[in-house]
């Protein structure tokens, strides 16, 4: 709750998801480490950094201690849109809406189906 980003809620869910069967499968399927720099409004401004570690199956806050396979820069709403399938990451990249560093092939594996979807009260 320390974060005001909506993405934080999603990433919390991701964290919990890793404890499940399905979550564990992800580490076998992908096995890569992604760093996410998420900005509230404008890319690069006031970013919060998260690491989605699909090697060990965990989500942590703060820069990765090591070299992530790919680093993404998103805005809060774009990350949400991406995780829910509303935004195609490749298209977003071409538009300049997200920035990607690192391995392109790793980046390509960062798709909406990785993320558990939030249920609505």
């Amino acid at each position: 709750m320390a974060s005001s980003l909506k993405s934080a809620a999603l990433l919390e869910q991701m964290k919990l998801h890793f404890a499940t069967e399905e979550g564990k499968k992800l580490t076998k399927k992908i096995g890569l480490v992604y760093q996410l720099n998420i900005a509230p409004k404008k890319l690069g401004v006031d970013e919060e950094i998260y690491v989605v570690d699909l090697k060990e199956g965990k989500v942590t806050k703060g820069p990765y201690d090591g070299k992530p396979d790919a680093t993404f820069s998103f805005t809060d709403s774009d990350f949400l849109a991406m995780a829910s399938g509303k935004l195609n990451p490749q298209m977003a990249f071409l538009r300049g809406a997200i920035k990607i560093k690192g391995s392109i092939s790793a980046a390509q594996k960062f798709t909406p189906d990785i993320f558990p979807k939030p249920s609505k009260l």
Partner: protein, 692 residues
């Protein structure tokens, strides 16, 4: 790179329909001759096109004219144009434009126009008159000449549609300034080439000359020094810009391409110009343009101008000939176009070939190389293009939705059969009870249209949307309910819930706190506090006190449950909802809340049981169906999730989230064969494949 030059060159020159502020024509033309209101959507007014040189003949039949901004203007204008217009019409008439009149009729397909101010007899000019009068606001430049001008241009455009060549007409002096004339000349050259793309060069040339002759414009006219009238400033700009070949102007330039290609969708050249006008008022132009001028630099006027014109003409032709849907762009993709013009495109596009003739080979090859190296994956190029199509469709769809609802503005449905119903509220309540949620929405909308202060109408509308899995509309409706009845507890709770779902934590907390403050029994517990200084811990503590005060009050437990969801103390949330359910076991929405909480704390199997309870109580509970789908998908049971999503969508095809999730599940289940059905929202096919 040739493309960039082409693009920028074209944009800086007289390219009609350009949204680029580097286009002096746009600035000048719009400023001088008035332009359509900026606030228009694409559904905008055909009539608003009247004032601009490129006045298009795109009259979309379905244009909802309730959004006409110009009625004030209309009344100002009703006196003066009479004499002028009659004169003009006589002139028009006398040259025997029978064919043209028919063309007019064809063009003016739309019957829905504001009442004409004219007493014009000629039936076949009636619609024309009405259009004429439905002006948007640009009071700085008023008077008949502009209308005369626009009508001439209309007929010019229309002449293609009817296949009737435009004939020179002796028109009354329109008082066009030098700037105007050049504007019109250049723009019409390009426009003509575009419209008459299938005709010969001589034809095009003669048409243009006819038009110019009518307008008394010398086809070789160049701007000369003297500025006159109130528009000297603008003419000045335009002059400068004729010299200013501004090579690096990402947004306007690309905006132009966007604008242009956007119109390819409509397959109507005039629509292109029209849409452009609609989107940029004179103010937007002038100021944008000023900014860009500062960035630009001056060069030799004539040379640059001609070169640019030629380039832009080629570009227009090329783009005009390309009807490939891949070239369509949605709005708001200015940045994309920027990127695009730098880097990527499908190498095998026909128009890309065109461009390579203009030295595009470099980056095309580069891209091709990347693709073959697998930069985008195995079936890269196709997947990319397909994805892109889908992205565009989604963006288009989503932006329509978002534009209204996400700003908290309620978006009413079109074509509401319940408008005019004697008691829509009652009807709505009945439909809601029966579980016909989408129908209930319509009836309730009719109610609130009739009685905008009916809190109950808005409240029920909000609830219905929430149950239909649309939190944005739910919020919009609930906000109205709250305005009408600020202390209504149900409304406050509903707002808290919807905001929680939208992950808007601060907002949610605010409403839940207000619930407490407004509660007759617990209000005393809550000191009056600013929203900013609210902390979960404090609020939760207060609620716990309330719960101790009245343990049999289910509502307090419900609010606590929602609060704990916010703070992600899921176990406590689950406990709270279970308490509430002990008191109200037949409340279907409580079962859903319980299920959702369990699902979010990855207890998906339990969640499914809870949802099932909810659905037993309310079989048409779209939200619960969608949540079911989510819980299956989160467990990797994709085929099952598909069935549930499809069921939810069958009940509410407007559930956007569900469509996206469905697609993801299809992909995970390796049912890419159904992507097309999903993208085209073909529920029949999907239901056949995945019945429950």
């Amino acid at each position: 790179m040739a493309m960039r030059d082409l693009v920028t060159g074209g944009a800086a020159c007289a390219v009609p329909g350009s949204s680029s502020s580097s286009n002096p024509f746009g600035a000048l033309a719009n400023a001088i001759l008035g332009s359509s209101s900026k606030t228009q959507e694409l559904k905008g007014l055909p009539g608003s096109a009247v004032n601009v040189p490129e006045a298009s003949s795109d009259y979309r039949p379905a244009a909802p004219l309730t959004t006409i901004p110009g009625s004030e203007y209309e009344s100002q204008q009703d006196q003066r144009p009479d004499a002028r217009t009659s004169e003009f019409l006589h002139g028009f008439h006398s040259t025997d434009h029978g064919g043209l009149a028919e063309a007019w009729d064809e063009i003016h397909r739309s019957p829905v126009f504001p009442p004409a101010q004219f007493r014009e007899n000629e039936a076949h000019f009636e619609e024309f008159e009405r259009v004429y009068n439905a002006n948007p606001l640009q009071p700085t430049w008023d008077g008949p000449p502009q209308r005369v001008l626009s009508s001439v241009l209309h007929s010019f455009l229309g002449s293609d549609q009817a296949g009737v060549p435009f004939r020179p007409t002796a028109l009354p002096v329109l008082g066009l300034s030098e700037g105007d004339k050049q504007c019109i000349r250049d723009r019409s050259c390009i426009m003509a080439r575009h419209i008459f793309a299938d005709k010969s060069e001589e034809y095009i040339q003669s048409q243009v000359n006819a038009l110019l002759h009518s307008l008394d414009i010398d086809s070789n006219h160049q701007i000369r020094g003297s500025m006159h009238g109130p528009h000297s400033e603008l003419e000045g700009y335009w002059n400068e810009s004729q010299g200013a070949m501004i090579p690096r102007m990402p947004n306007p330039v690309d905006g132009w391409i966007t604008e242009f290609s956007q119109q390819r969708e409509n397959d109507n050249p005039a629509a292109w110009a029209n849409s452009f006008e609609q989107m940029h008022g004179a103010n937007g132009w002038a100021s944008e343009f000023e900014q860009d001028l500062k960035m630009g630099h001056m060069r030799d006027a004539n040379l640059a101008n001609l070169a640019a014109m030629e380039q832009s003409r080629m570009l227009a032709q090329t783009l005009g000939q390309n009807r490939d849907p891949k070239f369509q762009l949605s709005r708001g993709t200015d940045n994309w176009v920027h990127e695009f013009s730098k880097e990527h495109q499908r190498p095998d596009e026909k128009w890309v070939d065109e461009f390579s003739k203009l030295n595009m080979n470099d980056w095309v090859e580069e891209f091709g190389q990347q693709v073959s190296e697998g930069a985008f994956g195995e079936s890269s190029a196709d997947v990319w293009a397909d994805d892109y199509d889908k992205y565009l469709d989604d963006q288009l769809r989503a932006s329509k939705q978002r534009s209204g609802a996400s700003r908290g503005v309620y978006v009413f449905s079109d074509m509401n059969p319940y408008v005019g119903h004697p008691n829509p509220l009652k009807e709505g309540q009945e439909l809601f009870r029966k579980g016909l949620l989408s129908e209930a929405v319509l009836a309730l909308e009719a109610e609130v249209l009739k009685n905008p202060d009916n809190a109950e109408g808005w409240r029920l509308l909000g609830i219905t949307h929430a149950e239909n899995d649309d939190d944005q509309q739910a919020i919009a409706a609930m906000m109205r309910a709250q305005e009408a009845d600020p202390s209504n507890l149900e409304v406050l709770l509903a707002l808290g819930v919807s905001h929680t779902n939208e992950l808007e934590q601060a907002e949610a907390l605010k409403y839940l706190y207000r619930w407490l403050q407004n509660h007759p029994k617990y209000g005393s517990l809550a000191p009056v506090q600013q929203a900013d200084s609210l902390y979960y811990a404090d609020v939760a503590r207060l609620f716990n006190e309330a719960a101790q005060m009245s343990p049999e009050d289910a509502d307090v437990h419900v609010v606590l449950g929602v609060l704990y969801n916010l703070s992600r103390e899921y176990d406590k949330a689950i406990a709270a909802f279970q308490e509430a359910l002990k008191i109200k076991p037949r409340d279907y929405s409580l079962w859903n809340k319980l299920g959702a909480t369990q699902a979010n704390s990855v207890q998906s199997a339990d969640a499914i049981l809870a949802y099932q309870q909810a659905l037993d109580l309310k079989p048409n509970y779209v939200r619960a169906w969608a949540n079911m789908g989510i819980s299956y998908a989160n467990q990797g049971l994709y085929e099952d999730s598909i069935r549930y999503y499809v069921r939810a969508l069958a009940m509410n095809p407007k559930a956007e989230n569900a469509w996206q999730y469905l697609r993801i599940s299809l992909s995970c289940a390796s049912r890419n064969d159904l992507f097309a059905a999903c993208d085209s929202r073909n529920l029949d096919v999907l239901q056949k494949e995945f019945p429950l």
